[in-house]
Each structure stands twice: as structure tokens, then as C-alpha cells.
Amino acid sequence: METRKRSVSQILITGFKSNINQYAMFIALIAVWLIFQILSGGEFITPRNLSNLLGQNVYIAILAVGMVLIMVAGHIDLSVGWLGGTAGALAALAWTSWHWNIWAAIALALSLGIVTGLWQGFWVAYRGLPAFIVTLGSFLMFHGFILLSVKNGQTVPVQHGAIYQFGSGFLPQLFMKGVVGKDVPFHDLSMLLGIAAIVLYWVYELRNRANRVKFGFEVLPWFLQLGKIILVSALIAGIFAIQTFYVGISYAFLFLILLTLLFVFITTKTVFGRHVYAIGGNKEAAKLSGINIRARTMWVFVIMGTLASIAGLVFTGRMASASPAAGNLWELDTIAAVVVGGTSTLGGEGTIIGAIIGALFMGSLNNGMLLLGLDIQYQYIIKGLILTLAVWFDIASKKRR
């Protein structure tokens, strides 16, 4: 196998064609930000608003990570909203009303997610029921459970403690003391983390390149490679800067970053991840290749259930209370984010990073429309249209190739 030399324009063109979905998503995200920036008269792209934007959407992004696995495996999970809401409510109740230790309360919420995953996985993987129906059943059951646990439209306050910190807290300052923007110019720990992230990215990218050269794979010419490194570094720097110059990085956001890295690793480097993509890509071939489809499917549902519980905890902490409305329409927001992020509705294709960007895109729409004071009814209509167009774009671009 010889490495073929290709001209720069060829690389750009074929690279763009084969990754058109990812690029289109980035372009769409930037376009939406610019449109809101202009329409809002400069209020959209500010550290304050963007920090809020990131914070508001962490729970959807966490759900999206799990939903990528579910959808890549060729299934769907409608239960994640009310399951998350119920898990959050259960933890809040256990801590405030039943006076449990807070970590026990958190463990209870996580167990609820795991048990639900086992339950749904059992019906889907071992009894062959359609995931749509099984998770619709759980959707209804958990809607009942949350109404049972948080009665009469009341809320359960969670205004301090680990759950509150997890959802609403920010990392402490390391050396400098005081309020960011007033006493000190920036948040030092966040800045250090940002720099560390960029350096780690450089190490990863250069090692990856060295490996590819060693295997004789095609690599980008150096100046394109450098361009890519600068672009991605700027992106990371931007995301961290937004928060560094506001109040710093939240625990929830840090958790989301670590979770994303973990699942990027799982989906690209592990046997489990490979199997999930193979099952979704061609179930029959996967079966005849000796893959244990049932066990893999079960694990995927358990992961989703656990992540739904975590999302519920984050949301409860952010709201500083558990309410019976927590969980409403999360599943649809999540599915929309994942699909906009390039995951195929037919299974076998999709990336974690794509889903995170998809979540950011849908979150930006929500945030921007709210900022413009658009009524909720128009927000729904616009979101619905965009979802439809995104799926059409995905299918049309696949047909072209």
C-alpha cells in the first residue's frame, strides 16, 4: 500500500465532501450565533450569555451522549425525560424529607437509572420488543412516578449540598480571591484548565499524526495540519474564555467534558464501542460475526438509564429544587440534538462530538429566541422546522455520495 500524494485542493474538496455533515453543523452553529448577535443588537455573544447558554444545556448534552449509543445501536429511548426528572426528585426527597445521607440519596437516583436500563434492556434485547414501545411504557410510568413523589405542583427545595453544587456550583479560584470582573480580571483555575486542555489536544493531535505516518496512512500536509490545530485550539480557548471571564467553569460543565472524553474513547477505541456500531450498521452481519447482540444492547440501555439519572441530578441542582415538571420534553430535545448532530435515525452512524455540538445548536436556538423575546409558540414552530430540515439534509447528503 503506497501513500498517494494529492494536491491541497483535492484534499480540501474530498475532505469537505466526506465530512460535509460535521462541517455543515459547525457552519450552521456559527451562522446561528451571528444571526442572533445581529438581531439582539450584540447581546448574544457575551461571556455572560454564552456562559448561561452552556450551563443551561449541560443536562441535554449528557442525555445526548447516551442517546448516541442508543440510536447508533438502532434503537430509541423515550423514557429519559421523566426518568431523569424522577431520579432528581427521588434524590431530593431522600435527602430533605427522609433525611438520608446526601451520597446515599445520589446513589439511590443512580440505581433508579441502572434498574430502569436493565428493565428496558431486558424487554428490548431478550424479549425482542420494539424500543419505541418499551420506552414509551417507561415514559408513562415515570410521569406517574414523578407526580406521585412531588405532589400537588409543589417543589422540593435543594438549596445547598452536593446535588446543588453539582448543578449550580462553580470551581473555586485557585490563587486569586474575589468576584470575577470586579475584584479580579479572570478565573484562574478555569484559565489553567483551558491551557491544559489545549496542550493535551496538541499532544493528542501530534501523536495521532505520527502514528498515521507510521502506518502509512494519508496525513494532512503540514500547513493544513497547523491550520487545523490553530482552529481547534481557538475553539477550545473560546469555550474556556467565555467562562473564565464570567464566573468560571461549573462542576457540571467539567463533568460534561470528562464524560464526553470518556465516551469518545469508548465509541472509538473499545471492543464494546465497535460492536455497538456494527450492530447498528448491519445486525445480521454482526450476529453472524459472533457478536453478542443481546448483551451489548442491554449495556447500551443501562448506560442510557444511568446518564438520564445524572442529567436529572444536574437539572435538580441547577433549579435548586425538584419539581413535577422536571423532565418534560427532554427526550425530544435530546433526540433533536442527536439527529441534528449527524446521528443516523437508522442506526450505525453517529458521533459523540456531533451530538454535543447538536445539543449546543439546539440550546443556542432556545437561548437566542428567548433573548429576542420570541413567544414560545413560535419557538416550537421554528425548532420543528429546523429539525425536519436537518434530517432532510442528512439524508440528501448521504444519497449524493
Binding site: A285, K287, N292, A295
Partner: protein
């Protein structure tokens, strides 16, 4: 102007009268003249002529791929006018069918082997499916039931029109198909392997119904692999071979028709040395199958594999011959981790030890691998690259760390893939199998058929198999790649792998195998060393000879 019009009208009327007269005169209910039909890369029909007399039962016989089905698809308008060359005359009048509806208007109805009935609907609904007796879109059920009862009587079925299809046996469903054809006022009935799925009593009943229909003037084209049955029912026989019409005669003329004569006509081609035959020395028995029996997953009473026993020896190519639907694929799929069928019984011994194989995973671990006849549907994950497809069945060999218990008793590794090992091993197979690709990161859907097939072979070689079953390994592959796969088979056998070659192309089986087993209707009817395996003998066993 007026004069010209009347001359034209007169002329047209004349032509009309003439052709009407011709129709009346013709002995043949239909004639297909010099029909040729090409698919990309294959000439399926080459100058075929086929004439059928009014009111006869005319058998159409030939090997797999001889062109029988294609010919009938041309007749029924599935391959519309313009996609073939040649002429079709019905009652002496040329016809140009654009679709199936056109041919049904002329009374031509085809009943395919795979019954086209909706299992959850009842008999009456099925009979008039697409032909509903309705006014303004509202179905007249009373009329439907009366009519259905009439057609059920004609085919001798004593069941209620309200019976759901799912509650009927295959034999009864076959008769419903015939009743459906009669409801379309069929004059020419084409039956493709009608008794393939039937037991003896049901077959006999069906043949009797066909004789009844013949008395009523229905012409019948009877496609069958069961030559004994052909002789029992047919008035004439036409033999197709490799897309040519070879011979056509009445069963009583020319000293009569016999099974031997039909077999000779069916396989009478010359064998060319297109195959790189190599003498192998068969070693010990590596796998033995005893009394293997498998039932159909949907048809409760249907035994697809019936008490089959055979041996596979180390260092040999075992050919598996048989006609379409004989159960070759089903046999090996059911052996490969029970991936097909129901109520499977029998014993498998690998290297003398009895083994329990309940899943493909266990089969692979036991050293028994199966390359599917359908590489796109069952062999490859098309959206994945060469790398991922090659290593899919043996990821545990190239991954580090942890073993995680699965949710059933199987142990599933949840390790981390060692990319370096993965690339090295994939490169090794790409080189050994001469897979032509710019990169191992190429998605397999972008590869040619031959290269795709090599990727699947690579996947199985990586599992280090003792036995490699190749089901139709050269189907849809160009000649060059075919030859490479044949050479590879020889090479693997030299390295001690036992190969099972299933193929619908008899010359391929005979050209490559050291030993040939023949399967007929789920039973093993022949087991011959290659020196004794002639086309004629194999066809004799494949058509039910004992």
C-alpha cells in the same frame, strides 16, 4: 382527405381480420420467438424459442440459472417490452406487455415459488387482493364471498372463505394461489416449483387439480426440478441450458422422454478447465455431523433438513451440490450456531469430540466458520471500513485489558482495541488476499464485489478456522477475482484448513472439490469422490435419484 381515411380504415380492418384469422388458426396458445435478454455482464437468455400448444401441460426444465425464471418473467411482463429482444405471440397475435397487468389481461398468470399471499388476511381477501369487487371504493363483501366459494370448489378446497391464511398448510396455500389465478380468468397458468414445499399427498392432490384444469382447457407451464413428477404430468418438455433452448418435444415422441435423457440435455455442456484443480491429500476427519434435522422457522410441519450425516476431512475441499431450495444454505446456517431454523436436532463432532454450538460465537470458537452467500446483507457492515470489517470477529485477539462478564453466561471482552495490532493484522490480510484498495480506511461499500468478498474471507481467516464454509463465494464476482479466490482455496487447504464449497454452479463444484455431497429436498442423496462426480451423476442425485 376523406378517400385517404377510408382507404386507411379499410386497410386496418383487413389487417385486423387477417390477424384474427391467424389467431384462430394457431395451434399454439403462445409462442416466444428468438427471445434474448441481457443483464449487466450476463446474457440470461440467448435466442430462446418456446412454443406451447393449447390445453397442454408443458414442463420447463433446466439447471439453476438456465434461464427458466427469466423466460417466464419476460412472458408475464415483469421484464417489459423493450428490455428484451424477440417476439411474443399470444394466440398468434403479437403482444407487447408493459407490465404484469397487461399479461394478466391476456390470461397469463404466474404463480411463484415464494407464495405472494398475505398471511394475516383471510382467503376471500387474498383471492381478490388488488382486484377487489368494489363500487366507488366500497367492497361488496357478499359478492366476494360467493365468488370465493365458487373458486374454492373449483380447486377442491373445503374451507371457509373466512379462514385466515396463517391457519392453512402450504399445500392449501398453493391451491389458494391457483384459485386466485382462476379468479383472474387465467388461460395460461405458469407454476414455478409448485410442489417444492409440499409433501407427497399434497403434491399428488395438486397434480390432480392441474389435470382437472387441463380438461377445462387451461394451459399450464410447469417448472420443476422433480423430473419424476414432470414425466408423470407433462405432455411436452422443453429443456433450457445456460440461456439457450436446447430441446423441446412431446413426452411420447422420439421414443419417449426419460429422466436420463432430460439430465443429459440439462447438463450436456462441455467442461472446460477454468478451475485450478489441485490434488489434495485428505487427512483426518475434522468435523462430523450426525443425524442433523431442522424444521422451517415458519412452516410448522416442514422439515427442511432431514437426518443428514456427513464428514469433513482436514485438507480437502468438500463440494456441496444441489438445486435451488434443496436446503444447502439452511444446512450450514443451522450448523453455524443455529442461525437458521427451529427444533434443530443432531450431533456435531469436531476433531472427534462432541461439541455444543448454540451461537455463531461458539461456532467460531470451535473453529467452524461460515461465509454467507449474501455478503452485503449478512457478511459486511457496509458503512464500516476494511479495518473494522476484517477484525470484527476477532477483536479480543487484538485488544488489551479487562474481561467483562456479559449478561448471559457468555464471557464478552470489553477491552481496548490495540490500534497498532489492528492495523498490522489488517495490512497482513490485505496483502495476502490482494485486496485492491487505496487504504484500509476505505469503507467497504466503495469496494468492488470481488474485493468485498476478500474482506469477508479475511475476517474469517483472522479467526484461525479449522473449517471454512464458503457459500456461493464467487457469486457476482468478475472472472479475475474468481480465479484468485479459487487459488486461495487451494492455498488454504494446503495449510490444513478444511473447506466446504457450496455453489449453484455445478461446474464450479466439480472443478474445485475433492469430494462432492449432493442434497435433494433436505436429504443427503449422494457422496462421491471427484473422479466419480460427473455432471450427470450429480444431477441424477440432485433431482431425487437414489
Amino acid at each position: 382527405m376523406k378517400a385517404a381515411a377510408s382507404v386507411a380504415a379499410f386497410f386496418l380492418a383487413g389487417v385486423g381480420l387477417w390477424s384474427l384469422n391467424e389467431g384462430y388458426m394457431s395451434d399454439f396458445v403462445f409462442e416466444m420467438v428468438n427471445i434474448s435478454k441481457e443483464f449487466p455482464g450476463v446474457k440470461a437468455l440467448d435466442d430462446v424459442s418456446f412454443r406451447v400448444k393449447r390445453g397442454e401441460i408443458h414442463a420447463l426444465v433446466g439447471e439453476n440459472g438456465a434461464g427458466k425464471s427469466t423466460l417466464m418473467k419476460v412472458l408475464s411482463g415483469v421484464h417489459p417490452y423493450g428490455t428484451y429482444t424477440g417476439q411474443i405471440l399470444v394466440n398468434g397475435e403479437e403482444v407487447q406487455f408493459k407490465n404484469i397487468r397487461d399479461s394478466e389481461h391476456k390470461g397469463i398468470v404466474v404463480i411463484y415459488q415464494e407464495l405472494a399471499l398475505v398471511r394475516l388476511l383471510n382467503v376471500a381477501e387474498n383471492l381478490f387482493l388488488g382486484n377487489e369487487i368494489a363500487k366507488n371504493g366500497i367492497i361488496n363483501w357478499e359478492d366476494v364471498f360467493v365468488q370465493t366459494q365458487k373458486y374454492l370448489d373449483e380447486v377442491g378446497l373445503k374451507i371457509s372463505p373466512e379462514t385466515k391464511l396463517i391457519n392453512l398448510g402450504v399445500g392449501q396455500q398453493q391451491l389458494i394461489e391457483i384459485a386466485k389465478a382462476l379468479s383472474k380468468d387465467a388461460k395460461i397458468l405458469v407454476l414455478d416449483e409448485p410442489t417444492a414445499a409440499l409433501n407427497e399427498a399434497d403434491s399428488e392432490n395438486l397434480l390432480n387439480i392441474l389435470r382437472e384444469l387441463k380438461k377445462r382447457g387451461v394451459t399450464c407451464i410447469y417448472i420443476s426440478h422433480k423430473l419424476e413428477e414432470v414425466l408423470e404430468i407433462a405432455d411436452s418438455v422443453t429443456v433450457l441450458r445456460d440461456g439457450h433452448s436446447i430441446h423441446s418435444q412431446s413426452v411420447h415422441d422420439d421414443g419417449g422422454m426419460t429422466e436420463e435423457k432430460m439430465i443429459n440435455l440439462m447438463v450436456g455442456r462441455k467442461l472446460t478447465s477454468r478451475y485450478p484443480r489441485k490434488e489434495h491429500k485428505a487427512g483426518d476427519v475434522v468435523m462430523e455431523v450426525k443425524n442433523w434435522t431442522v424444521y422451517h422457522p415458519d412452516l410448522i410441519e416442514k422439515k427442511v433438513i432431514d437426518n443428514v450425516s456427513f464428514q469433513i476431512k482436514k485438507g480437502e475441499i468438500l463440494g456441496v451440490a444441489g438445486l435451488m431450495g434443496a436446503g444447502r444454505t439452511e444446512l450450514f446456517l443451522s450448523l453455524f450456531g443455529r442461525s437458521w431454523g427451529r427444533e434443530i436436532s443432531g450431533e456435531i463432532l469436531i476433531e472427534g469430540k462432541p461439541v455444543q454450538i448454540h451461537s455463531p460465537r461458539e461456532a467460531i470458537q470451535a473453529g467452524f466458520t461460515y461465509l454467507s452467500e449474501d455478503r452485503k446483507e449478512k457478511g459486511l457492515v457496509l458503512g464500516m471500513d476494511i479495518l473494522a470489517n476484517t477484525t470484527l470477529s476477532s477483536l479480543e485477539r487484538i485488544s488489551d485489558y479487562g474481561v467483562m462478564e456479559g449478561f448471559d453466561k457468555q464471557v464478552a471482552k470489553a477491552g481496548i482495541i490495540n490500534y497498532l495490532k489492528e492495523v498490522r493484522i489488517t495490512n497482513h490480510y490485505v496483502k495476502q488476499l490482494q485486496i485492491k484498495t487505496p487504504s484500509i480506511e476505505q469503507k467497504v461499500k466503495n469496494l468492488s464485489g470481488g474485493n468485498q468478498q476478500k474482506v469477508v474471507i479475511g475476517k474469517w481467516l483472522m479467526t484461525d478456522p479449522k473449517i471454512l464454509v464458503l457459500d456461493e463465494p464467487t457469486r457476482g464476482i468478475d472472472v479475475g477475482a474468481k480465479f484468485e479466490i479459487y487459488n486461495l482455496m487451494n492455498e488454504l487447504v494446503d495449510n490444513g484448513v478444511a473447506i466446504v464449497l457450496i455453489s449453484s454452479e455445478l461446474p464450479e463444484v466439480l472443478g474445485m472439490s475433492d469430494r462432492v455431497i449432493v442434497i435433494h429436498q433436505g436429504r443427503l442423496t449422494g457422496d462421491l469422490p471427484w473422479q466419480e462426480a460427473t455432471q450427470e451423476r450429480c444431477m441424477y442425485f440432485a433431482t431425487g435419484g437414489k
